[in-house]
Structures are given as structure tokens and as C-alpha cells.
């Protein structure tokens, strides 16, 4: 019984009495701060840069505001509906969606899902680790990618939603192309193949949003029909 007693105090012989000082698990490893590198004083280094950014920004805005007038149309008239009636530019992607899907899907379901998806990004380990999509089980992942792409494309084709279908198809083809480059060690193809799943989803989201917004802003005319922005309205 004597030898089982735990003794307090330090032992100088580490080989005889190994002690665990810290235990770094995979989950906390991202929080371990390594060498922070060289540091500079906030005052003046950061504040000076912020001041320059502010001044350049204000100067540019003043110059633009001198020459680019804010639009002002006729007094609001509930009886006179313009065709097309357009929301502000950052909602035109949604308005473009409304053209393809029922109001509940395009106006409520999709925006809610997008916001939820953005909020939960940091709480999924797959996004935090950011492993390349083709790192583990590449064949299985490729199969999943192919199936979901085909299902998605058919779904979009069914609704004639080709302003989402085109960017989806482009991003998906680059994604599938990156599978063939997964063995390469240098060059932009290997950099592409090293991208994690979250990177592809976000890139797809941005591509689709930009396409929807640009089409909604510049290429939609009366009755939400397709127009070319360089052609002035004829009659």
C-alpha cells in the first residue's frame, strides 16, 4: 500500500516519472496559437493605414457623387405600375428566382436556407478542417458529386431555371475536372484539386448569385422577358 501513495511535489527525473503537461486533441488543435510572428504597434502603423483608406474612400466617393446623380422618378402612384417593377439590385437575384419558382420557394424557403447555411458554416468540422475534397475516398466522393449534380441539373431544367443551371453546370464541370488533377503536385490544377468541399459550395453559391443578379438587373424587360441592355426600348 505504501508504494501506491501519490506523492506531492516535483520529481527531477523525467524518465522515471513522466508527467503529462498538456494534451492537445484534434478538436482543440485549431485554437492553439503558434508563433504570432513579428508585431507592430497599432499606433501608428494600423491607424495610419486606416486613415489613408478612409481618406481615399471619401475622396473617390465625393468625385463620383459630383457627377453621378441619384435617380428621381415621378411621384409614387399606386395606380400606375411600371413594367417591369424591379426591387433594389441586391434583391434582383431573388426576383429572378421568383420568375422560376413559386413565391414561397423563391421568396421565403431559399433565402431562409441560405442564411441558415451561412450561420452554421463554422459549426461543422468538415468546414473547419477544410480537407481537400479528394483527400479521403476520392472515388466515393466523385460518385456523390456526380449524382447530386445530375439531380440538381434535372431539377433546374424541369423548372426552366437556366440562369441557375448555367453557373451550376460550369462550377460542376470545373469541380469534376479537378478530380482528374488530384494527383498533380504543382500548378493551378493541383491548387484547384486541393480545395475543400465548403470552397466548392461557396463558389457555386457566389457564381449562381452573381449570374441571377446580373441577369435580373440588366437582361430583364417588360413582363420579365429577356432583353439586351444595349438595345433601347422600341415601342
Amino acid at each position: 500500500m505504501e508504494d501506491k501513495k501519490i506523492e506531492a511535489g516535483f520529481s527531477s527525473d523525467a524518465k522515471k516519472d513522466p508527467r503529462r503537461v498538456v494534451f492537445v486533441t484534434k478538436k482543440v488543435s485549431a485554437k492553439v496559437v503558434g508563433d504570432r510572428g513579428p508585431q507592430l504597434m497599432t499606433y501608428p502603423h494600423l491607424l495610419l493605414r486606416e486613415a489613408i483608406v478612409f481618406e481615399v474612400l471619401v475622396i473617390v466617393m465625393i468625385v463620383v457623387a459630383l457627377f453621378w446623380d441619384a435617380p428621381l422618378e415621378q411621384l409614387a402612384n399606386p395606380l400606375l405600375t411600371p413594367n417591369p417593377a424591379k426591387a433594389p439590385w441586391y434583391f434582383l437575384g431573388l426576383q429572378e428566382l421568383l420568375h422560376f419558382f413559386p413565391p414561397f420557394v423563391a421568396g421565403i424557403l431559399i433565402p431562409t436556407l441560405v442564411v441558415l447555411a451561412l450561420v452554421v458554416i463554422p459549426y461543422f468540422n468538415v468546414n473547419v478542417e477544410g480537407k481537400p475534397l479528394w483527400a479521403d475516398r476520392p472515388a466515393q466522393n466523385l460518385r456523390m458529386v456526380l449524382i447530386s449534380t445530375i439531380v440538381l441539373l434535372f431539377f433546374l431544367a424541369f423548372f426552366d431555371a437556366w440562369t441557375i443551371l448555367v453557373p451550376t453546370a460550369i462550377v460542376a464541370s470545373i469541380l469534376i475536372f479537378s478530380y482528374t488533377a488530384r494527383q498533380q503536385t504543382s500548378g493551378w490544377q493541383s491548387a484547384l484539386a486541393a480545395k475543400p468541399f465548403s470552397w466548392w459550395v461557396m463558389t457555386w453559391f457566389i457564381a449562381a448569385s452573381v449570374c441571377l443578379t446580373v441577369v435580373g438587373t440588366f437582361f430583364r424587360g417588360p413582363g420579365w422577358s429577356w432583353i439586351w441592355p444595349w438595345r433601347t426600348h422600341v415601342g
Partner: protein
């Protein structure tokens, strides 16, 4: 001349009055430079030192800073615009005409406010995408990412509520299109729309509600959230810096 100014400033910084205002003498040592940051109400949420890498332009492209500066510009120009504005129909529209033809630099003021508003929406989006691609949402920054997403929504609502205020055809129909979407919400859609518009259509009540949201409620919410957002950047250990930043790319 330049030397005289510098000398004058240096003497000024040594005076009792200067020290009583700034709680320090000239910031010529690392100690006084530290005090310059944490002894200043408007800077105390910043770290005293920043990593050299975090100052590189590609670390942030200053997108977050630019978004905040735009918020400041919008606050100043917005308050000035409030002096000339009545949130009532059709007076609101007449005020726009007054800005155009009566008020000195009225058009310029409105241009600046509108430009900054559109730019802010754009910059907040750009900031979010840039932070994502740099992995800035990773621990311990998770919660600050969520605050950022909420700030994006607040920015969109701020811009959207401001869109109605000129009370012209553009404003009226843009907001009508937007609020019609709300009715598609199951069960509570029509109630929420009624709450927002103060009626079933975009009318005088809607204008007043959007005005109050635009100039009081949403700016306050944004102000508080921006405070939390900035404070958390420091508490969570500063900007996300990639290893490869040190060697060129």
C-alpha cells in the same frame, strides 16, 4: 514652415492642456503608444500590437474597415438629410425636389448618401466572401462570423428601408415587389406584412414605419452589433493570417 509646424505640435503635446485631454504626452515610446490606444475611448477595443502579416493589404483588403467607414459616411449624410425630410406622403417627394432645386448642394448630399448605401451593401458582401475564403470563420472566430451574417442582414434591411423614403415611382414599386414576397410566408405572412406596412398596401403608414426603422431602430442595432463585431476581432486573437502570407503568396 513645415519645421515650424512640427515644432509647434511638439511643444503643444508637452503642454498641460494636451496631456489633460489625451491622458498622455507625445506618443514617442512604445509605452505612450500603447496608452494612445487603450487610453482612448474610441480605440480601446483595438489591440495595442498587431501582427505585421495582418497589416498586409491582401490580409483584408480593408473590406471590413471600408464597410464601417461607409456606415460613418451614411450616418453623417443621413443626419444632414433628416433636416430636409418629412416622412409623409407626398411631402417626402417634394423634399426630394427641394433637395434638387432649393437646398445648396442638396443633390450632392443625396448622391453621396445613395452611393455610400449601395457601396456598403456591396462591400459587406465582399467582406463576407473574402473572410470565408481566408477561413476567417474557423475557431475561435465562429461566433463573430454569425454576428457578421446578422450584420449583413441588417445592412440589407437598412438599405431596403431607405429605398422607400424618396417616395417616387422607383421607391414605391421596388418596395411593393419586396413586401409582396413576405405574404408568401406560410401562416403569418399577411400578419408580418401588415405589421411592416401598417396596412395592406404601401402607403403613408408604411413610409413612416420604414422611416423609423431606417433612422432609429436599424442604425442602433447595427451600431451595437458593429461594436460586438470589432471587440470580438480583438478578443478572438486578431485577423486570420495564413502561413503562406510570409513568403509572398
Amino acid at each position: 514652415m513645415a519645421n515650424n509646424v512640427t515644432a509647434l505640435l511638439e511643444t503643444l503635446r508637452e503642454t498641460k492642456v494636451w496631456k489633460s485631454i489625451f491622458r498622455r504626452g507625445p506618443a514617442n515610446s512604445n509605452r505612450t503608444r500603447s496608452i494612445a490606444v487603450f487610453g482612448n475611448l474610441f480605440l480601446h477595443w483595438m489591440p495595442v500590437k498587431v501582427r505585421e502579416k495582418a497589416l498586409h493589404v491582401r490580409a483584408s483588403y480593408y473590406l471590413g474597415s471600408i464597410s464601417f467607414f461607409l456606415f460613418l459616411v451614411l450616418t453623417v449624410t443621413g443626419i444632414l438629410l433628416m433636416f430636409y425630410y418629412h416622412p409623409a406622403a407626398p411631402n417626402a417627394y417634394r423634399d426630394m425636389k427641394d433637395l434638387q432645386f432649393v437646398v445648396s448642394n442638396g443633390v450632392f448630399l443625396r448622391n453621396l448618401h445613395r452611393l455610400a448605401a449601395h457601396l456598403m451593401v456591396f462591400m459587406v458582401f465582399a467582406h463576407m466572401f473574402h473572410v470565408f475564403y481566408r477561413g476567417g470563420y474557423k475557431p475561435p472566430h465562429q461566433f463573430n462570423w454569425v454576428v457578421g451574417v446578422v450584420l449583413l442582414l441588417v445592412t440589407l434591411f437598412l438599405s431596403y428601408t431607405g429605398y422607400l423614403l424618396p417616395w417616387d415611382q422607383l421607391a414605391f414599386w421596388a418596395v411593393t415587389v419586396g413586401t409582396n414576397i413576405i405574404s408568401a410566408m406560410p401562416v403569418i405572412g399577411d400578419k408580418v406584412k401588415f405589421l411592416l406596412l401598417g396596412g395592406h398596401i404601401v402607403g403613408e403608414n408604411a413610409l413612416l414605419r420604414f422611416y423609423v426603422l431606417h433612422v432609429v431602430i436599424l442604425p442602433l442595432v447595427a451600431f451595437v452589433l458593429i461594436g460586438i463585431h470589432f471587440w470580438r476581432v480583438q478578443k478572438d486573437g486578431g485577423l486570420t493570417v495564413k502561413d503562406r502570407d510570409s513568403h509572398g503568396r
